[in-house]
């Protein structure tokens, strides 16, 4: 069986949840080989093997992460040439899609992004036009390069051999042409990450800038907090929490929209959520067209009451 390369999503060595999902998906297509770029591969080894990685290719040269995405695309291009994999799976976030983009040009291969399911073939499923269509696609040229969104599979354990190989890659000058010269870490909220969370509670312009009832309700459910663009543009919540077309696309088990009208650009980021709940003062708000459960009311009374009731359970 051919290898399937999986680019491992991690933050400073800490493996993120989608990595296990993608290793699970890779087993449908061949033998998973994890590609770990950056510090911490040794520590991650056991976890990757537990989710089925037969091989682990590690690149620890810090230059790989100092120049945006181009060096990472070079690592994958080298592996594609050497291993002739059945497919390459890459996390479908902004950076991952750009790595896939450069790899597709280098290897003259087809690229599929924002994929929510992969079956043998590989045949992928994408959700397009703000969630109104579902599209099945395949790659017809080169090595299939597939960018997979979080929550696209339930991680299943499998005993992979986990054989470890440190790669040495020399990066071209052009790959190093743009440089990250400073990085200011953001304060962590302590809440689950937006795109990976099982529950997301979002606030919009209707909060008037006071997100405390939204945050309290989110915390009672162990949820991530999101925001509409109106709330982000007003400076009430960071841009990294924006849900929608130009923010994050989330697909949790439960999405709660409080004080959000439900514009098409917002829907593009949450329409595929399993269950949708809205709280809005205006019974005509378009968000109510999507909901499984809606409360017409003031979020400043509804949310605190719901929070107390949930906490009491």
């Amino acid at each position: 069986m051919a290898e399937v390369l999986v680019l491992i999503d991690h933050a400073n060595g800490e493996v993120k949840k989608p990595a296990a999902e993608m290793l699970t998906i890779a087993r449908r297509l061949g033998e998973p080989s994890a590609v770990f770029i950056g510090p911490g591969a040794e520590t991650a080894k056991d976890l990757l093997a537990r989710y089925g990685a037969d091989k682990i290719y590690a690149v620890s040269d810090p230059a790989a992460l100092e120049h945006l995405v181009a060096p990472q695309a070079e690592v994958l291009a080298q592996l594609v040439a050497e291993k002739q994999p059945a497919a390459v799976l890459i996390p479908s976030n902004a950076a991952g899609k750009e790595i896939g983009a450069r790899l597709a040009v280098k290897t003259e291969s087809g690229l599929l992004t924002d994929v929510v399911d992969v079956q043998a073939g590989p045949v992928t499923t994408q959700s397009v036009f703000a969630g109104s269509y579902s599209v099945e696609a395949k790659v017809s040229k080169g090595t299939p390069i597939i960018c997979v969104k979080p929550n696209s599979a339930a991680p299943e354990q499998a005993n992979g051999a986990g054989s470890f190989e440190e790669l040495s890659v020399s990066f071209s000058d052009s790959a190093k042409a743009s440089k990250i010269t400073a990085s200011e870490p953001k304060k962590a909220s302590g809440r689950p990450e937006l795109t990976e969370a099982a529950i997301v509670v979002s606030g919009g312009r209707g909060t008037g800038g006071d997100f405390s009832p939204v945050e309290a309700f989110a915390d009672s459910l162990g949820a991530a907090v999101g925001a509409s663009r109106a709330a982000v543009d007003a400076g009430w919540y960071p841009h990294s929490s924006q849900v929608g077309q130009t923010g994050k696309q989330v697909s949790p088990q439960l999405y709660v929209a409080a004080g959000i009208s439900g514009a098409i650009q917002h829907r593009a980021g949450m329409q595929t959520s399993k269950t949708i709940v809205a709280i809005n003062k205006d019974e005509e708000a378009p968000i109510f067209e999507l909901v499984d459960f809606g409360v017409v009311g003031d979020l400043f009374t509804v949310l605190p009451q719901a929070t107390e009731t949930v906490k009491g359970k």
């Binding site: 902004a94 040009v105 599209v135 099945e136 990085s183 130009t246």
Partner: protein, 259 residues
């Protein structure tokens, strides 16, 4: 400072978007417009040139109607337009689109800056900028939320999930901008009148020396096998808060095992 801005003409997200029988995007049955996210790229180009000197060329690939995207950009203030229009391009994937754009940019004469939006509002892939950087061998500076260009160096801030990063590259460079970077201007009456006299070139694949066998639906490296319209979500229960809205919400969550 010469800048080329890549702009895409897309089906309006407010209209009923869909697919043709061959699974290509329906670009005729719906109203189209300049992808809103490309307005930020046009605006940024205008600001850079207005702060110094230079020329802004807008470049689009698309059917006849895509001329509208060029026109709107010229009305905003861009100096000239290039429209690549060739039936053989219809149904191209991202790989082929970036190939044609790259060849067109070479023909225009590689500028100091190639500017793009962060993603189109129809395909929404966010991959064409990185593909262009790869094809043109330019430094890639993408997702700029702030940008300054000084002494042949572009410096930008990228607002990431875990950090706010500063990124630098020497020009010429490929830069994509987010919707956080500026507030795109509306075309003024003067701008609308002036646009009528601005030059727009129409090129075909032959003008670019691109072989039709490298582009279009039949030669795409990806193939759509099926498209299915999702049934609209069925509206569930809506209650009006009469002092117990929060309790009812909590009950719904408990019944559905979220609590």
């Amino acid at each position: 400072m010469n800048i080329v801005v890549c702009v895409k003409h897309v089906p309006d997200a407010q209209s009923d978007r869909g697919f043709n029988e061959d699974n290509t995007t329906d670009r005729e049955g719906v109203d189209g417009l300049l992808s809103e996210l490309d307005e930020y790229a046009v605006e940024q180009a205008l600001q850079i040139v207005e702060a110094g000197e230079g020329e802004v060329t807008v470049l689009t690939i698309g059917p006849a109607a895509a001329a509208e995207a060029v026109k709107k950009s010229l009305q905003m203030g861009a100096d000239k337009g290039v429209h690549i229009c060739d039936d053989a391009i219809a149904g191209s994937d991202a790989l082929a689109t970036s190939l044609v754009l790259a060849e067109a940019i070479k023909k225009i004469g590689t500028p100091d800056i190639v500017l793009t939006g962060m993603a189109s509002t129809d395909g929404t892939m966010g991959v064409v900028p990185a593909m262009l950087a790869e094809r043109l061998g330019l430094p890639q500076v993408t997702y700029a939320s702030e940008l300054s260009v000084d002494g042949g160096v572009a410096t930008m801030r990228r607002d990431g999930d875990t950090a706010s990063e500063t990124i630098q590259a020497s020009l010429p460079a490929l830069i994509s901008v987010t919707d956080q970077i500026n507030e795109p201007r509306y075309p003024s009456f003067k701008g609308i009148m002036a646009a009528k006299k601005k030059p727009v070139e129409e090129w075909t694949l032959a003008d670019l020396g691109v072989d039709a066998g490298q582009v279009g639906l039949a030669n795409a490296a990806t193939a759509v096998v099926a498209t299915t319209k999702r049934p609209p979500r069925e509206q569930g229960t809506i209650v009006t808060d009469e002092g117990d809205g929060g309790t009812k919400l909590a009950e719904f969550l408990t019944t559905n095992k979220f609590v």
